[in-house]
Amino acid sequence: MEDSLAIHRLHFAFTVTFHYIFPQLTMGLALLLVILKTLALRTGSEHYNRAARFWARIFGINFVLGVVTGIPMEFQFGTNWAQFSRAAGGVIGQTLAMEGVFSFFLESSFLGLFLFGEKRLGPKGHWLSAFLVFLGSWLSGYFIIATDAWMQHPVGYALGPDGEIQLASVSALLFNRWALWQYAHNMIGAVQTACFVMAAVGALYLLSGRHETYGRTFVRVAVIVGVVASITQAYPTGDAQGKMIAHDQPVTLAAMEGLFETQQGAPLAILGQPDMHKKRLDNPLIVPGMLSFLTYRRWTAAVRGLDRFPEQDWPDKILLLYYSYHVMVGLGTIFIAVMFVAALLLWKRRLYSSRWMLWVLMLCLPFPYIANTAGWITAEVGRQPWLIYGLMRTRAGVSPQVSSGNAWFTIIGFMGMYTVLAILFLFLVYREIEHGPGPAAAPAAVEVRA
């Protein structure tokens, strides 16, 4: 049983991590597309329409991969986590079904119109189709977050006669405090990915002296939105989420921060490697009292360390949790610095000629993906050993009849297939970027979708 538990966990972790590469860009890019279409509508300039069409092509490729890797996610609850689905389906099935009913239909219908129907819809109709795609994808994000937030912090449920978890209040489920902050934090993360991708492509064009008018537009839009996103990602959304974890999952906070012992005026570890045997941080680089301040707004407040909790309630992968959290926070801080300096240069009208800054923007491309992934690992590994926090242990949720051999078979299949998808993705996106947003229709001129 134990080894099949590990493989089922890896199965979900692998497929969902790969899946989320694509939605984080499409959700963020949907917002930037609405901005580009709004600029086009207000200035009446074809320039912005061409820019929007270029990003719509990138969006299309990402969207397809998001769809085809997303369908397996909805089914994996049942295939690999049958006991969890049976116990909690009456609750989380609601939000997952809402996602399909309210957002996927909206998104898929209007994406067809957005990608195909520009001429027939006219400028305003086309703007509206872009807006509805944005709305659909952001709604979809909300329902997924509400599902996860319920697993992090279950509310609005009642236990049925056979121990099954029944929905007791749909509004409590939908307006879970965790869902609201997690959503804000997650969506801003998605906007950051889109901004860094758009800025990187713009910087590439400016540095290589191609499509320079578009390069300037991309960098400008991305930096203006990106600086706002990067700051709000830390405060208030990241901060609020940290406080929720401190309040509702204190043992997770201790593990994330590498705080082995309860301390008054607990320090914040910037760097350091947890030593699980000696129960301490090696090579610590700390800010004294900072963790107490961030958590309770008092420098001397006591923060509970891992020593205060029974070991069976500790997250079972403390090292992974600790490092993902630190990678996320570290990168988030770097994003603020990069976007702030870029915005300053933009304001001083020196950004387009500051080659060093353009280099930085271009090379930052992979980091928001890493930060978003690390953030999700923090949330999900931090929830362990619970599948539903305080209600159901992860090991109690797996499918009883699916052997580890069968799960190995399918995870190998997914790994192979997703490797092919990754290669195709890089190849097709590279071609679009190579071709650029220029007026001559791409050879790929969108005949079938995307």
Binding site: I61, V67, V68, T69, I71, E74, F75, F77, G78, T79, N80, A82, F84, S85, R86, G89, G90, V91, G93, Q94, L96, A97, G100, V101, F102, F104, F105, L106, S109, G112, L113, F116, G117, E118, K119, R120, G160, Q166, L167, V170, S399, P400, Q401, V402, S403, N406, T410, G413, M417, L424, L428, R431, A441, P443, A444, A445, V446, E447, V448, R449
Partner: protein, 348 residues
């Protein structure tokens, strides 16, 4: 409340089969009815703007099943683990073959994706039919309401059966012929020129396959699943559902040669509706019969979620579905005209 949701899940599934069914059928026929590059693009353009929305009905069915009948979702999806995973892989392959095909124009790239599109559509149709066959036949549920079926054992019916036995293979073939015919009817309606003519020939030939296998599967089902004849004799009005299927089949025979292409497609929809509703009527109140001990079977009452969730679900689900149908009407009207082989004028 449980019965209401039983019907609603079935309704969502019917929408999925009617809608994604025609683009699966178009996929199966892709290499047969379209020979040149232009013709193949024509087939793809006829489904291009809608296939993805059609597939959302599968997600909607899965999601609705999840919250209305969590025990069925959990038991069925983990029990059909391997075939379901294979279906997911086929859906991945099919999705990217439609979308990525036209990104590169090459003698290697395009035919490769055409083949993947055709192959994955064909296997999906057979798997869907076999899956439904498994549900009708019943599965080896244990006392806890779980089971696991390998892909095949000895291809015989019995307690040690796999996903594929001779009954479910027949069901798979019914689905293959029916969806091929459905796809042919769609192409008849949406295309002109050589593709249109070939689709008509295919429709006429496939019709016989559908007719023969429909009779075969009906006869077999009566012997394999006693609940079906029991329900029919207890409620003779239920004969209206198989009658609907027969009516659709007869109407297809009438409309296809007479160039009433829209009506032929409609007739194919009626046929599929009749077949699926017959299954839904025949299995009631089972949602997953057991071929081990009938007491282990999942029924509407032991698989449904709590009443509050089902009541509140009825409110938002109806609103959401009304909206979805609204988008679909708008979308299909927008792309209502026939697609020609000429260059696309709708794009950028």
């Amino acid at each position: 409340m449980g019965t209401v949701w039983y019907c609603l899940v079935a309704l969502t599934l019917v929408f999925y089969v009617l809608l994604d069914g025609f683009d699966l059928g178009a996929g199966i026929l892709h290499l047969v009815v379209a020979r040149t590059g232009e013709e193949r693009r024509q087939v793809l353009r006829s489904i291009g703007p809608v296939w993805d929305g059609n597939e959302v009905w599968l997600l909607a069915t899965g999601g609705t099943l999840f919250f209305a009948f969590p025990a069925l979702y959990a038991s069925g999806f983990s029990g059909f683990y391997l075939p379901l995973m294979i279906v997911l892989w086929l859906l991945v392959l099919r999705g990217i073959s439609i979308e990525f095909r036209n990104h590169v124009h090459s003698q290697v790239w395009t035919p490769f994706w055409d083949f993947v599109f055709c192959f994955s559509s064909l296997l999906l149709a057979i798997f869907y039919g076999a899956a439904l066959g498994n549900v009708v036949r019943g599965v080896p549920l244990d006392a806890h309401g779980y089971f696991f079926e390998p892909l095949w054992t000895n291809f015989r019916l019995g307690e040690e059966t796999g996903i594929l036995d001779w009954y479910t293979i027949v069901a798979g073939l019914v689905a293959f012929f029916a969806l091929t015919l459905h796809g042919a009817a769609w192409l008849l309606w949406k295309t002109a020129g050589p593709v249109h003519e070939r689709a008509r020939r295919v429709a006429r030939v496939t019709w016989w396959g559908v007719a023969v296998f429909t009779v075969a599967v009906t006869w077999l089902t009566f012997r394999v699943q006693p609940q079906v004849p029991a329900n029919l004799s207890a409620h003779p009005w239920g004969y209206v559902f198989p009658a609907l299927a027969v009516a659709g089949l007869v109407a297809l025979r009438w409309f296809v040669p007479r160039q009433s292409d829209g009506k032929a497609f409609l007739a194919s929809c009626v046929y599929l509706l009749g077949m699926l509703s017959s299954v839904v009527f025949g299995l009631y109140p089972y949602v997953l019969p057991a071929n081990t001990n009938p007491a282990y079977a999942l029924t509407i009452s032991n698989a449904k979620a709590g009443d509050y969730g089902l009541r509140i679900g009825l409110v938002w689900w109806s609103i959401g579905m009304a909206l979805a149908i609204g988008y679909f009407v708008f979308l299909y009207r927008h792309f209502a005209s026939k697609v020609s082989t000429e260059a696309d004028h709708e794009g950028y």
